[in-house]
């Protein structure tokens, strides 16, 4: 992450921290790519296998082994670059040299001064734009298990065991610019990134399983002054933890500065149970990685033709999907229903319901309410949902009745809404019957009616409740509300 000494991005007054402090956050997100094999060898890229099954000479760093680049990994990385508005460029690989038992060759093949993707940005649903410095390819490490000691942690363990199934799995490291000013923005950034990665098929992006990992560089300063010394926060395993860790870390740094202390540049470990960060190591004596160009690999120079091919095959991104739902329903792109439908990938399904003749707004609401667990493609025929939205729109069913029918359709994996409604004895009440019921309810509770007429909207609840009870839920709430308003005058 590069530190601009003076940033043009400044927190809004309500985003500032107490005491006039502003937090400055940059995120480094590692995602495992959804390839069949590893970045530089043909061993399976698979999670959850028996230890040391997916190994070959390259994975184990055996003497004489040579890496050969996986084309699909480059393509998925290009998709990420395109989705993040990056420049796709001629690039090379470097060796990052350091000793660690999970690193079989004692160097990681990564990208250094010439990454595949550079200078992009990501516009969040809230409208904030976060710069993306780079998104480069590199290989994952093996996995350590620490044995003995009290906690199963690295410190105090008796020895460690190495499994190299994960070693060599392709990663893309997405490095944001230090443009993030609140923990809310950080969460929104990662959440949007996850939606994008899923949408473009680059990664399953599961933070809980480690296929998406996030490190946060956090510093604090007063606007108009240079950035403060930053600390890198590791071991953040969920989006919620990310927000907590950033808030904690900013507070910790402000407390130190306020009490006359100085922030040391260091890596800190987030402990989610304790809700705090611990020091891991100081960066003054950080390893000298001795980066140099990887002589066993050649230059990657994506042709314009290849880039355009990858671009053309990109599915619509979450932002485009939200825009589509907005067009369809008139709902704001930031509304919960739109955001949720897109996050779940159910936008196409909503559109299918509309295409089948359904009412757009009701389609969006039904889908987001009824298919929380169903994934991107609910098993219910879109036409069945469409028919139901029409029944409700045409006041053939009340909202309450429609909900009951919807539940039944979902439970059965489909069904004819009209037939289900008929079987349940649902029928729409004609308006004059409802009018009579409204008048009866007003007569039964004049106090509530008086309050309602005086502008106390909540008082309407008592009247509506009576009507619904009297009609056994058959009265359409909207019709009731319209009649009450006309009566109030």
């Amino acid at each position: 992450m590069s530190d601009s000494p003076l940033s043009s991005i400044v927190a809004t007054p309500e985003q500032m921290l107490p005491g006039g402090w502003e937090m400055v956050v940059g995120l480094e997100v590692h995602v495992e790519l959804a390839t069949a094999t590893k970045l530089f060898s043909g061993s399976p890229n698979r999670f959850g296998d028996e230890p040391n099954i997916n190994i070959d000479p390259v994975t184990l760093g055996l003497p004489g082994a040579l890496p050969v680049l996986n084309k699909k990994a480059v393509e998925l990385a290009m998709r990420i670059g395109l989705a993040l508005n990056c420049r796709i460029q001629r690039c090379i690989f470097h060796r990052k040299n350091y000793f660690y038992p999970d690193q079989p060759k004692a160097y990681q093949i990564s990208q250094y001064d010439l990454p595949l993707n550079a200078d992009g940005h990501l516009e969040l649903p809230s409208g904030v734009v976060i710069g993306v410095e780079r998104a480069h390819l590199e290989e994952d490490t093996g996995k350590s298990t620490h044995v003995g000691g009290a906690t199963g942690r690295i410190h105090g363990s008796d020895y460690s065991l190495m499994d190299f199934n994960r070693a060599g799995v392709p990663l893309v490291e997405i490095v944001s610019r230090p443009d993030i000013r609140t923990s809310e923005q950080a969460r929104e950034y990662v959440s949007e990134l996850r939606s994008i990665l899923e949408a473009i098929g680059a990664s399953d992006a599961k933070m809980e399983e480690g296929s998406m990992r996030c490190d946060a560089n956090v510093s604090v300063h007063k606007p108009g002054t240079p950035f403060g010394t930053r600390c890198e926060i590791k071991n953040v395993n969920s989006i919620r933890a990310l927000g907590r860790a950033i808030d904690y870390e900013a507070r910790r740094q402000i407390d130190i500065i306020d009490s006359g202390g100085v922030i040391r540049q260091e890596t800190r470990h987030w402990d989610d149970a304790e809700g705090r960060t611990h020091t891991l190591r100081t960066k003054e004596d950080a390893d000298d990685y001795r980066y140099f160009p990887e002589p066993d690999l050649v230059t990657v120079d994506p042709s314009q033709e290849w880039i355009e091919e990858v671009r053309a095959a990109l599915p619509p991104l979450p932002a485009a999907r939200r825009a589509m739902l907005h067009e369809l329903t008139g709902y704001d792109i930031r509304s919960e229903a739109v955001v949720v439908a897109v996050e779940r990938g159910q936008h196409e399904y909503v559109k299918a319901v509309v295409d089948a003749g359904g009412d757009p707004v009701k389609a969006l609401i039904y889908v987001t309410q009824a298919f929380a667990e169903a994934g991107a493609s609910p098993a219910v025929p879109a036409a069945d949902i469409a028919a139901l939205t029409i029944l409700e729109r045409d006041n053939k069913l009340s909202a309450t009745q429609a909900k009951t029918v919807l539940a039944e359709i979902v439970a059965n994996g489909g069904g004819d809404a009209a037939a289900i409604a008929a079987a349940k004895g649902f029928e729409a009440m004609d308006t004059s019957a409802v009018e009579t019921m409204v008048d009866e309810a007003i007569a039964a509770d004049p106090d509530a009616w008086a309050k309602y007429c005086a502008g106390e909207e909540k008082a309407a609840g008592a009247i509506v409740g009576r009507i619904m009870k009297a009609s056994k839920g058959k009265a359409d709430g909207k019709v009731v509300s319209a009649i009450m308003q006309s009566r109030r005058g």
Binding site: T35, A36, T37, S41, G42, S43, P44, E50, P51, N52, I53, N54, I55, D56, P57, L60, V68, L69, N70, K71, K72, A73, V74, I92, F99, Y100, P101, D102, T141, S144, T145, H146, V147, I154, S157, D158, Y159, S160, L161, M162, D163, F164, K234, T267, H269, L280, R281, D287, D288, R290, P293, P295, L297, V298, T299, V300, D301, P302
Partner: protein
């Protein structure tokens, strides 16, 4: 800029030995420093060259875009591999405790 013929000091040698994870004692530091200083003294010859505008050459035969398809290849036999490891446990490679830092 550092000149290529600059002498290498004992402190430099001790530092690179640590970076390279080579335990060497003080006497060896002196010995290696002497030898390396002599070799590096010779390297001063390239300081005389005008290298401005010369593109570094990292590979002798320029190839681009050498890639393989994303297709599984046979893996190694885990038993055979573990049999030549210094220490194993539960089909994993066993190492002494890791101190200091993670990743």
């Amino acid at each position: 800029m550092t000149q290529s013929g600059s002498p290498i000091s004992a402190a430099d040698v001790a530092k690179v030995a640590h970076l390279a994870r080579l335990d060497i004692d003080d006497a060896q530091v002196v010995h290696f420093t002497e030898q390396l200083a002599k070799v590096m003294g010779h390297f001063g010859d390239i300081d005389a060259l005008d290298l401005s505008g010369v593109e570094p050459m990292t590979q002798p035969y320029p190839l681009v875009n050498v890639m393989r398809e994303d297709v599984e290849m046979p893996t190694l036999n885990t038993d055979e591999v573990l049999a030549s490891a210094p220490a194993t446990e539960e089909r994993r490679f066993r190492v002494p405790p890791i101190v200091g830092t993670e990743g």
